[in-house]
């Protein structure tokens, strides 16, 4: 059983599709979860259909959506690190690393979850994962927490192989769908469920398993 999990992701909603079921499962099993979200996703392109948010209101809208998603999952501790969307790869690396290092020193997580650097499509995803890996690789090997990575770039399995960690999260689909639906400005119903209502079987096939790569230092 994991005791303290630290999730480091750059955007509100990065937790929803690939991770929320796993986190709900860990919380159910007694884990404490801290989610450090680097930005408010303030440069996102989705504003709802028809748009109910704007460039000006989007940060506040997405902050509220993220808080709602965390409640749905059962995450006890949300930290908003205040970086600006789309700028993580340009940030002062020492500043970025020090914020992540402080969290690891404060929390002593048994498990850290982030994006696999280089295989996560969005420059913020890759830069976020790279910072986490940099910080943890500087720790003595015996003190390092386990790191589970999310990856989804084109042909990523040719480089990093198949994921080695698989969780059956069918028992936590209610939490997962509520997390996804919390991000109302970002995920339209059609994107989530298609044009027709999915059967329970289809939902389980599509959302019932979550996969991770254990990072090998």
């Amino acid at each position: 059983m994991e005791q303290q999990i630290l999730v480091v992701l750059p955007h509100p909603d990065d937790e929803a599709f690939g991770l929320s079921g796993t986190l709900a499962m860990h919380v159910h099993n007694g884990a404490r979860v801290t989610y450090a979200c680097l930005t408010l996703g303030e440069m996102g392109r989705n504003m709802g259909i028809p748009p109910f948010a704007s460039r000006v209101t989007l940060p506040a809208v997405r902050k509220a959506e993220l808080e709602s998603s965390c409640r749905a999952i059962g995450i006890q501790d949300l930290r908003l690190l205040g970086f600006h969307d789309k700028t993580i790869e340009f940030e002062d690396q020492e500043l970025l690393d020090s914020r992540i290092r402080e969290l690891i020193e404060e929390l002593s997580p048994t498990l850290v979850v982030t994006f696999y650097p280089g295989y996560s499509v969005h420059p913020d995803h890759d830069a976020c994962g790279a910072a986490v890996i940099r910080v943890i690789s500087q720790m003595p090997a015996e003190e390092r927490p386990t790191v589970h990575c999310l990856a989804f770039s084109r042909n990523h399995e040719e480089a990093i192989g198949r994921p080695d960690v698989h969780y059956d999260v069918r028992a936590f689909l209610k939490h997962k769908l509520a997390s996804i639906q919390s991000h109302r400005s970002q995920f339209q119903a059609a994107e989530l469920l298609g044009k027709n209502e999915l059967t329970q079987q289809e939902i389980e096939a599509r959302f019932g398993t979550e996969h991770f790569w254990t990072y090998r230092f």
Binding site: M43, P51, F52, R55, V56, K86, D124, R154
Partner: protein, 114 residues
């Protein structure tokens, strides 16, 4: 955000002219453009809270709309604007959304920083 009413936008353009303003201007295909379709070329630019002042400005077209603002030494130009915020009286908040509802262009003016 509501669909642009050009006369309302023109009124705000007139109200904000000849004063120091902060501008946010942006155009983007989104960071996932090539991930979803490898023939696409992802491109994006934004500039936030640069100071500008214009002496003349207009909204044009039948929708999506174009806006041009004439400054002492150049122009601000945006094409593809579809929506504006009609509750704003001191700022002009405009954006263009594509057929999937995603923001593709934005132009915002304000006497105070965004």
């Amino acid at each position: 955000m509501q669909l642009i009413q050009p006369s309302k936008v023109q009124q705000l353009i007139e109200k904000l002219k000849d004063q120091d303003l902060y501008v946010h201007i942006e155009q983007t295909t989104g960071a996932y453009a090539a991930h979803f379709d490898s023939s696409k070329h992802p491109a994006a630019s934004f500039l936030t809270n640069a100071r500008i002042r214009y002496s003349h400005g207009a909204i044009s077209g039948n929708g999506p709309f174009r806006v041009g603002l004439k400054m002492a030494h150049g122009w601000v130009y945006s094409e593809g604007l579809t929506h504006y915020e009609d509750t704003e009286t001191e700022r002009l908040i405009m954006a263009g959304h594509d057929s999937q509802g995603k923001l593709i262009v934005a132009l915002q003016l304000s006497p105070e920083p965004f």
